[in-house]
Chain length 320, copies 2
């Protein structure tokens, strides 16, 4: 029985897994993404968290048949070079992430787009197993997207899937990416938090920030949004509905264009709000769907927190 | 040398061609789409216009190796049944267009989506010959779209490519399709005319309708828009710019999602405004492009008025 590694590299945390030939998780580990030291420090931290997962699985990391990494930024899949990973500290330029990890751990390393590998995981093993074409919508800090068409990942010229930056409102709200009117400007957790702060500072009542402090957070996590909605906090409900309307329009636009069999809703917010959230997105899509007599299936991602890392491990799986 | 037929079935006209094995046009003909008599009358008119093209080519229509038809509506490619062709008179339900044409003319008939076959033609023979993936944007009465991905038409579950109904403005203008905020609600020639009429009735000065009458039209054709812009008509420039901004946002959204090598701009308006129009669309896309350091090629469709019919003839071409 051989084992492979998978790494989900995020802006705040690194998640690793060791899986067997049938994709079962033998061990996993998690650690914070270093805020200092640039790409080299991030690579060292990944190697350390990978060693932990290997330890938990009872295997020597040097014996893994390969390690897959899902990374933000622009990826060269052939060389393992990552550039412009703006969510990561001091990573505007290029860094040979694949080579650095092979140096540290031994096995061959393959790097892919974080959102695409999570989409591939849902396609191969998760909520989209039964479909041949799908749009993955990862609703979290930002909104990422991935495509599988005719059973294969569709990457375009390397940067397909940016559903968060589909325009839903000409001359609309400023997006964290700097552009105007992107879906993410309304629906990304980060943009939602900025808007909440702005409205709160203008005098709108809300318990969002009280709840944040009470639960020991320094940002409005999906859990805080969920609690505020349970408490029927008016501003929270208003901004959540605004996010849902943007998701409905943006996802419907994508469906009008690509007409996939299924849409998978994942990400921190997507998984937190689960079936109820997916149902609200579906309802918000309907007025914009061109072929509204036959909408695609809408499913919540089923692989949970490990989905990204398991998806990354698929980058180095033997063809089955 | 064998010959094939191609038919472009539009809301106002039927264009037919007869082509040889190397896709050269041997003969072509054009006639009006009947406004009465429903699908059966349309089929009879297609047969008649096809006979004319065959006559011009000097071949017996019965000897054509096949006839391809590009049709609006929802197409079943396997059976040649077309339903819900709302641009055509009394064609809400189903009609076996392929079978009716085989009965009338003899050869096997294959029916495909009108916009998709025009996209395929630009891919195989026109402005996108050098590319492997492309988005076709057919800017005319409405705005249609077609996709070629990895060298093959992408139809989704049968209704992919509806770029005209990508949402560019939440709670925006009413689209001829009945929905709100679609790109076509701003950029479709029909929607532009409705808006111009509305503004004119409200008292805005414009020569658009004078020019229309002077040139003997009953609608604002692309030629009339072109003349009004040459005359620096303020309302025309305002509505044209509004259309360009919507096209920029909608096409950029599609590019962010699919990341194709090329975007081909065709259709009556697209071809009329040519390189200058494509340049304005390109400029309007840039602020919305996520990967703005590497935009796709933007080209004007090169097959002109016969593109749709030639594309339809590809449906029955022998594999090369």
């Amino acid at each position: 029985m051989s084992a492979r590694g998978g790494v989900d590299l995020g802006g705040t945390k690194i998640q690793t897994v060791v899986v067997d030939d049938s994709h079962a998780v033998l061990g996993d580990a998690r650690g914070p993404t270093p805020r200092e030291g640039g790409p080299a420090a991030v690579a060292a931290a990944i190697a350390e968290v990978m060693r932990e997962a290997a330890g938990a699985a009872g295997v020597d990391p040097g014996t893994l048949t390969g390690i897959g990494v899902g990374s933000p930024g622009l990826i060269d899949e052939d060389t393992g070079v990552v550039r412009g990973a703006r969510n990561l500290p001091d990573w505007q330029g290029e860094f040979g992430l694949g080579a650095a990890l092979t140096d540290a751990l031994g096995p061959a390393v393959k790097v892919g787009n974080d959102v695409q590998v999570a989409t591939d995981a849902e396609f191969a093993l998760g909520a989209a197993k039964e479909f041949d074409s799908l749009l993955g919508v990862f609703w979290g800090t930002g909104v990422g997207g991935g495509l599988v068409l005719d059973g294969r990942p569709w990457l375009g010229r390397g940067s397909a899937g940016e559903i968060g930056h589909v325009v839903v409102k000409l001359d609309g709200a400023r997006c964290p990416c700097g552009r105007r009117g992107c879906m993410e400007a309304y629906a990304g957790r980060k943009a939602m938090e900025e808007k909440a702060r702005e409205e709160h500072e203008k005098g709108k009542k809300t318990d969002l920030f009280k709840l944040m402090k009470k639960h020991g957070h320094d940002r409005l996590t999906s859990g805080i949004w969920s609690r505020a909605l349970e408490h029927e906090d008016k501003l929270a409900e208003e901004l959540f509905e605004r996010a849902i309307q943007a998701l409905g329009a943006g996802v419907a636009s994508a469906v009008n264009l690509i007409d996939p069999e299924a849409v998978i809703i994942g990400g921190g917010m997507g998984v937190r709000f689960g079936e109820a959230g997916a149902e609200r997105i579906r309802a918000a899509m309907m007025p914009h769907l061109f072929n509204d007599s036959d909408p695609p299936a809408i499913r919540v991602a089923s692989l949970g927190d490990l989905g990204g890392a398991i998806g990354a491990s698929l980058l180095v799986a033997s063809p089955s």
